[in-house]
Amino acid sequence: MINRIEVSSKISNTQKIGVYTIKKDLNQNQLKKIASSLTNPVYQDFKINQPTLVKKFFWGIETGFLPGVTDNVASTVKEIIKDQLKIKFNENEGVFSSQLLLISEQLNEKDIIKISQGLINPLIQRVHFKTQKEYLKDKGMDRIVPQVKLTSANQVDEVDLNVSDEELTRIGKSGIKNKDGSTRGPLALDLSYIKTIKNYFQKLGRNPTDIELESIAQTWSEHCHHTIFADPIDEIKNGLFNNYIKRATVEIRKKKGKRDLCTSVFTDNSGGIKFDKDYIISHKVETHNSPSALDPFGGAITGIVGVNRDAIGFDMGAKPIVNYYGFCFADPNLKSLIFRDKEKKQSLLSPRRILDGVVAGVNSGSNCSGIPTPQGFLYFDNKYQGKPLVFVGTVGLIPKKSSAIKKARPGDYIVMVGGRVGQDGIHGATFSSEALSAGSPTGAVQIGDPITQKKLSDVIIKEARDQKLYNSITDNGAGGLSCSVAEMAKESNGVAVDLEKVPLKYPGLEPWKIWVSESQERMTLSVPKNKWKKFSELMKNRDVKATIIGEFNDSGHCVVNYHKKIIMDIDMKFLHDGLPVRRMKTVHIKNVFKEPVIPQLKNLNEVLLSMMQRLNITGFEFVSKQYDHEVQANSVIKPLQGKGKVNGETSVVKPIFDSPHAMAISQGLYPSYSEIDCYQMAGASIDTAIRNLVAAGVNIDKIALLDNFCWCSSNDPQRLYQLKKAAEACYDFAKIYETPFISGKDSMFNDFKGYDEKSNPIKISVPPTLLISSIGIIEDVLKTISIDVKFPSDLFYILGETKDELGGSEYFAMNNSVGNNVPKVNGLKNKKLYSAFYKASQKQLISSAISITRGGLGVALAKTSLAGKLGIEISLDKLPVSVSRNDFALFSESQGRILATINPQNKKKFEKIMKGNPIKQIGQVTNNQQLIIKGLDNKVIVDLNLEKIEKAYKSVFKNY
């Protein structure tokens, strides 16, 4: 029996009705109880198996999920029903949520189709509509049960690799063939890889099974093995990662000796540094780009709760204490559409829809999980139209006394905890959307379930960890069990899995799918046999599913059984290290762009106001305000600073209530410099990420970095050259600043191939994008500095030199140009300046400080003034400069610069500490609301009221 409960509002004008479809035999009394528990009588009514009727409506539109898509509301309703009625649901029964909209406007069918399509994402949702007449005749909308029905047998296929090279290439590219001729989706194994696999199995005298081939493909994938960063490139035999990133960290740690900050680098789920004598903090930044392009909400929420598990899976389990985000989108006002197919049936989502969905996804994932999200950025460039970049990061906290070396031991149970396994996320985002139809579950798209994960996180971090109930823990992320179990098996040197024990979302899932599925909210633990009873009871009490799915051993093999039959048996060494080395060559590239011709204006008021409205500079309060940054009560420097509520680039949190220590996070990112010079692009990103922390009062000696490379066309030797130069800069500048890399991630193919509105083939690649994230420790929270100027008559200083460095700048971009003079970072000079600045901050000599970043001095000046709601008067003729023009002086993006204000009484002390550095007092905070800038010739070039600046700064995203 399919029952349908509709809950409508008694007080609202919009006729939005919550629908719960329950497939289960229930009597009237039971249904009434259920309906009552889903309805708030203060303002709602319900209908059981009867349509909701309102006075005036012309259409009914119902939206719901497709089969197999995570339906969090339905899960909660199921829990409520089970708890309320003390009943159970069997495999064929279920609950499904949907929304009904009764339209009170008289629209035609064409309009309704348009509205319907706008309400849903066809990859995950369904929509149905009826006219009022049909609705009344049918007694409401249809009762739809989006249940997954799988007919495939639970079989394991052998894959014949004794075939031609062409066929091997095809298998590697498009995947294993099903009996009906269809393929299972890309393995991303090139010919050299698949031939290596063929040889391995030939020696064993057999062909691989499908699960074996899928498993190797997962483990060897670019996503998991980072082959482009690992393999030899040009003269660098040990690869970019080892030669540049890792080597920098190793050498810095050695040099710093006792001052070494790191506790764990590159090997664990996150990187770790010392927080204070009792705690370690972890940090990890991930990307979730392709899924977010397809389903922005689902992609982003899955990304953020996914990276939370990198904290939970760090060491023996760290508590997520801060979330962090960075979104690269195309201009949300962009109207041109692009398509996946020539027939233009599959349009990509518009930049605005992607922005809205991604912002909402991180909102839901972060807020529901109770993790503060103070820090992040938005960045716009139309080259992100084909693929947005969605960076998500999490800082974790673990007491030293809870920390231990992970070591799954032979004889330990493999325990999977959290959610069940379905078809979600098989083969990541490389799936073909044509394969989707109403009856089949959606393959690659996942939606996170933060509450299931919160229960899991709580019981691990707050109870199981400190009761020492497991020996090792890791996340089930990319590659699902195939990667997490095989990875953990390295610790014991072997494993035997009983795959039929894995709890499933629905019956009929083939073994290889169970093994590689990326269903969310799961972690894998190694639990000693004698602790299983206590562990499983604890999990049961916390309503967290925990299942033994096999045992670790020291056999040297990764073995998977299915109903007592061996379906996979691969040598551990081959599985992890058997992949052949691919040599890469780069080709030098030097782009030269036209220098722009920009008229020199006497008055730059309007220019500055336009700069404040640039998408990459303007305020994004709408995001900051919807992400809870106060939860956990750890917020110190908030995302919006000062009376004027200006977005800062650094956030500070104090995670331990009775410790004065705090930590600060920030970032640097300059994709607009990449096509000019990737070396300087990386240098600027590193310098900015560090300088942003320094300006907030962080000691440069207590900073660690994370790298996220989001590249494009990484099989193109010129792109590889850019990659190599960026990696080289990472080494050079990390070494100078002695700031080690502790964790990183790369995503090498952020390209889109499709068609424009005229069906012409197009390729849109993201600009080479390197996000440097920084994390630093503050010993005394009271020494933290905010960006807002504080008191009239305070002296206004610029620290660092301003040069004609506008190549790739936001100012040139506003003038539709690129230019060539990218900022060049002088690390040694900057380091000296930053160290002196820290000394001054420790003596509490600095009243406010803002790092000069995108948009240059002019923008930073306007922000610090607006944040403090006090005027500033400066003169550029006092600037330590080598600039030719007023506009260049204002908008050059020269690195290594900070604006600071100080109490006049501290002038002597401050200048003494800063001696030997290029600093200059260029003006003063005033008692009015006027920003006044005198130019190089000491004539007024800007004279603006703060109200005007505020209006410009806050207008762009006002209605978002």
């Binding site: 203060v42 708890d83 919807q626 956990q632 807002d788 504080k790």
Partner: protein
């Protein structure tokens, strides 16, 4: 004098239990976080406590309405015990999601002592969006929880905080002086700027703002400015924030 014992509930997505416990302990109480499933297993432990706090969070992801699912769980398993607890001389506080749970349980306003009857609701914010920020509030009626406070600045962070009641219910609530705290500027479209109410005994208190996020000086949004001001005035920097007083009031009620 023995420290009053405070029970702080947890589980299923509540997420402010740690800081709420810390605030009560800073105020001189003895806090204990108990997972709702453990309380269901051993119901009598409720008798050990003088104060019960339902902290903020996102129980059951707000599915089926904020606070609804968690309050059903409490009602299904612990209702008799809760009722016994609240009619004694005990204190209860529900913060944010905790307030939403109290409202769904019918523990506030519980007009005419009809505990268990839902009389008011907390609806999605007018913006239909989650909102975080600091707001000035004024105390409009007395409750032991707000003794000695006239005005206070506290942060909010919620998606469903728009207070709603029918005209009749609202007029009774006002007549009985149960609206105890109001926003100066309305952040969510909440009825009559209502931020928190009590039951008729005044001992059960629910509010949307988070006092535990305002227990320290460095949690204030303008603390860097205040620090600079105090430094120049050669004044000592304060250690605590305004929210702490609410927890002190709760604890001191039993001293």
């Amino acid at each position: 004098m023995k420290k009053p014992k405070v029970l702080i509930l947890s589980g299923y997505g509540l997420n402010c239990e740690d800081e709420t416990k810390y605030a009560f302990e800073l105020a001189g109480g003895l806090g204990k976080i108990i997972h709702i499933n453990d309380l269901i297993k051993n119901k009598n432990q409720l008798n050990d406590f003088q104060i019960m706090a339902i902290p903020g969070g996102f129980a059951y992801g707000d599915d089926t309405g904020s606070g609804n699912a968690y309050s059903l769980k409490l009602k299904n398993h612990l209702w008799e015990n809760l009722l016994k607890f609240v009619i004694k001389d005990r204190l209860v506080i529900g913060i944010c999601n905790g307030f939403q749970i109290l409202v769904n349980l019918g523990l506030v306003p519980a007009l005419n002592r009809k505990y268990g009857e839902r009389q008011v609701a907390l609806l999605p914010n007018e913006s239909t969006r989650y909102t975080t920020g600091w707001f000035d509030l004024k105390i409009t009626n007395d409750t032991p929880w707000l003794t000695g406070i006239k005005k206070i600045s506290l942060p909010i962070a919620h998606g469903e905080g728009k207070f709603f009641a029918s005209k009749e219910v609202l007029s009774q609530i006002n007549k009985k002086n149960l609206v105890v705290i109001k926003y100066i500027n309305n952040p969510t479209g909440t009825l009559e700027n209502i931020a928190g109410i009590t039951d008729e005994s005044k001992r059960i208190f629910g509010l949307m703002p988070h006092p535990e996020r305002a227990m320290f000086f460095t949690q204030l949004p303008n603390w860097p400015y205040l620090k600079e001001k105090y430094l120049r005035e050669r004044k000592k920097l304060p250690e605590f924030g305004p929210g702490l007083q609410i927890f002190k009031n709760g604890v001191n009620y039993f001293k």
